[in-house]
């Protein structure tokens, strides 16, 4: 991963009257990575994105985008797709794309050529001259995405990129985003779909009530929340194992049992012990690492991870 910084946010805060929307937030986004911004509704994600794009001014702190303060020239190197988005309904798809492309500094001819390229890639070429209102919601979403990347930006900021898309179109957009990352672009993605973050994101920032809760690589964040336990599925009296302190049974039995290890005992020691015994057989053995969804719930709702693991 390149360490060239695309966004550098340093200690920013923003209040609306007495309500503190963002509080002393600091993070970096690097070029060539997908960076996920997570948090519950009203956590301050949109406010943070709007401050990055200079739509809102922070009360304090500093923001650098693509190497400096945001200027008109910098804006032309950014693609932005907000959660609340739309297109003029009464105009043709190609006209809409060319107009928005020219606002990003493209010549009309260049904007038209690129628009047609993207429409072809997205299987929408035949709709180029149709009015936006004649397109389905999913098609409009794809056009909006194409507009976001039309001017070949260095940084893309997308709020809920897969909202309103069916699984096939989700895959298409996901591939385009990952392709963009491979070419060295930076993607900031705000989403509630945790499995998409696990699949796509390199690093993440979780905000709750305007404050940073989690920040780092996805693997590191998950490891940070890993328990001293393993999940096993099979037959045997797990309590008899030397390294196991206690066993929690899953409520429905489908997900196996959670074996909490004694202090200092490593999972591979337990696995070796099971393998040596003839009265125990396993079909599944895994570390009790929580999913991002579990972590999200735990952080946001204050639930204990142990309860969520045992309860599922």
């Amino acid at each position: 991963m390149s360490q060239s910084v695309a966004i550098h946010v340093e200690n920013i805060s923003k209040s609306y009257g007495t309500f503190r929307a963002v509080s002393e937030l600091t993070f970096k986004v690097f070029k060539g990575e997908v960076f996920a911004m997570l948090g519950p509704n009203g956590a301050g994600k949109s406010t943070t994105i709007r401050m990055i794009l200079d739509i809102l001014k922070p009360d304090s702190g500093k923001i650098e985008v693509l190497g400096g303060a945001l200027t008109q020239a910098t804006k032309e190197r950014i693609g932005y797709l907000p959660e609340e988005r739309g297109l003029y309904r009464g105009v043709s798809v190609i006209e809409m794309m060319v107009y928005l492309g020219t606002l990003k500094g493209l010549s009309p001819a260049d904007a038209r050529r690129r628009s047609m390229d993207y429409l072809t890639r997205l299987d929408l070429a035949e709709y180029a001259k149709k009015k936006v209102s004649e397109l389905s919601k999913g098609m409009q979403q794809k056009v909006q995405f194409a507009v976001t990347v039309l001017h070949d930006p260095e940084l893309i900021i997308i709020d809920e990129p897969f909202s309103g898309l069916d699984p096939v179109n989700t895959l298409v957009i996901k591939d385009l985003l990952l392709d963009f990352r491979r070419r060295g672009g930076a993607v900031v993605m705000s989403t509630h779909l945790m499995h998409q973050v696990e699949e796509m994101a390199d690093r993440l920032l979780m905000i709750s009530r305007g404050q940073q809760k989690l920040y780092g690589t996805v693997a590191a964040v998950r490891a940070q929340y890993a328990l001293p336990a393993v999940i096993v599925e099979g037959q045997g009296e797990w309590k008899q194992l030397e390294g196991v302190e206690r066993v929690e049974h899953s409520e429905n039995g489908r997900m196996g049992d959670v074996l909490f290890l004694k202090p200092g005992v490593q999972p591979d020691h337990v696995l070796g012990e099971i393998a040596r015994r003839d009265d125990m057989h396993i079909r599944r053995f895994e570390l009790a690492v929580p999913s991002l969804n579990d972590i999200f719930i735990q952080v946001v709702a204050g639930e204990r991870y142990e309860q969520s693991v045992v309860g599922r």
């Binding site: 739509i55 001014k57 804006k75 907000p82 988005r85 297109l87 003029y88 009464g90 105009v91």
Partner: protein, 419 residues
């Protein structure tokens, strides 16, 4: 104008010109009026033919007997008076007059009522009502002859002579020397200016409201303001909608002139239009009128931008607009005051206050010589208001984006405006 503002201006202009609603109101309505003018005479002709047939008999009778008329004097005032008009025949009583009418000897008769001296009552009797046959001149002349009987003939001639009028079209004579316009031209200048401004503002701002509300409805605005400053976006829109409004006015004026010409017989209207066009304003007034028109246009467009930003539907917008449009026409209520004391306190204050300045200052300029410093101050205040209103409209435009269509609470205004 920045590159982005120009791009938005051109795009909005192009988009607006293709809107069905605009095409209909700009071209369709004048076209319908023209068609109406072409078709109406034919339809009227058919109806007139039926009516013409029904009265043709009466007309034939009138042609046969000429315009012979009779009269019956029940007042006794015309005793011994011989009518000087050979068309007029006296009858001693109504029966004989009616008999002559039935016999077709006369086309009608006048009955001078007994109380004529007190009431002036005269009744006209004719076989069929024809507006073109109602003529009080013969009996009036007869009564004048009776009343002046016995007077010196020269004196009688003086008393009965119709005054000789000479009409001068003052609008063609230009401005009076040494200052303002004559009263007639002043009213025309003020009313034409007010009418042009208000119609322009009305048209333009309908489109502006529509396009601002559309931004909110489509939710494209947040994408746009990530590329363009809200004030640039709004300026581009305002200029485009302003030009669309002016173009529409131009089409309508052209349509009216064409309609008058097609309708024919519109010499009077054409003369009126020509007289407006021929008003010779003092040279220094023309650029001032232009400045006030443009600034007023921009100010009201920006104010409508604010209304658009605050409204969530086309239904709400015009209701809020009254707040600005009533003060704008306020100076017209004081037109007499402006005519008598153009440099008084109220005209001066109204000509400085930005919302009322365009119409107030134009009235003063047309009537008197306004001190240069007052003109400068008025224009400066108007220009500053335009900039302020544009800025505020841009801010509110952005706020509405952030609030996603929620109504703004007054207590939230300061920090929302700060951004």
């Amino acid at each position: 104008m920045s590159r982005l503002t120009l791009q938005i201006f051109l795009y909005e202009l192009w988009r607006g010109l293709r809107r069905r609603g605009y095409l209909f109101s700009a071209f369709g309505i004048p076209l319908l009026v023209l068609l109406g003018l072409l078709i109406a005479p034919r339809l009227a002709g058919v109806a007139a033919q039926d009516a013409a047939e029904s009265i043709s008999r009466a007309q034939e009778r009138a042609a046969q007997f000429g315009d012979a008329l009779g009269y019956v004097d029940l007042s006794g005032l015309l005793e011994g008076i011989a009518p000087s008009n050979p068309r007029l025949t006296p009858y001693p009583d109504e029966q004989s007059a009616r008999a002559a009418l039935n016999a077709g000897e006369i086309a009608g008769y006048y009955r001078i009522e007994p109380d004529y001296l007190e009431t002036g009552a005269v009744t006209t009797v004719m076989p069929m009502l024809r507006l073109d046959s109602i003529d009080s001149a013969p009996i009036r002349r007869l009564m004048l002859d009776a009343l002046t009987q016995g007077l010196d003939s020269d004196l009688a001639a003086h008393l009965t002579r119709t005054p000789s009028y000479t009409t001068i079209n003052i609008s063609l004579l230009g401005a009076k020397e040494g200052g303002g316009l004559d009263e007639g031209s002043t009213f025309i200048v003020v009313y034409v200016f007010a009418l042009a401004l208000l119609i322009g503002v009305f048209f333009t701002n309908g489109y502006l409201l529509q396009t601002v509300i559309e931004e909110k409805e489509t939710r494209l605005i947040e994408i746009l303001i990530s590329s363009v400053r809200p004030s640039d976006l709004l300026t581009g829109k305002i200029l485009a909608m302003g030009l669309l409004g002016l173009l529409q006015m131009a089409f309508w004026v052209a349509g009216i002139i064409l309609a008058i010409q097609i309708a024919g017989g519109g010499a009077g209207q054409l003369e009126f239009l020509a007289s407006i066009a021929n008003i010779r304003l003092p040279t220094e007034l023309v650029p001032l009128l232009a400045i006030y028109f443009v600034l007023a246009y921009l100010l009201f467009a920006a104010l409508y931008g604010i209304i658009g930003a605050l409204s969530n539907s086309m239904r709400e917008g015009p209701q809020y607009a009254v707040i600005f449009t009533i003060p704008a026409v306020f100076p017209l209520y004081f037109i007499n005051l402006f005519a008598t004391t153009p440099d008084g306190t109220i005209p001066t204050v109204l000509s400085l206050f930005p919302l009322t300045a365009p119409l107030a200052m134009v009235q003063r300029l047309a009537i008197s010589v306004v001190p240069l410093e007052q003109i400068m101050l008025s224009i400066a205040l108007l220009a500053a208001s335009c900039v302020g209103a544009l800025w505020l409209a841009g801010r509110l435009f952005r706020m509405q984006t952030l609030l996603a269509g929620q109504m703004i609470k007054l207590r939230e205004l300061p920090y929302l405006l700060r951004g």
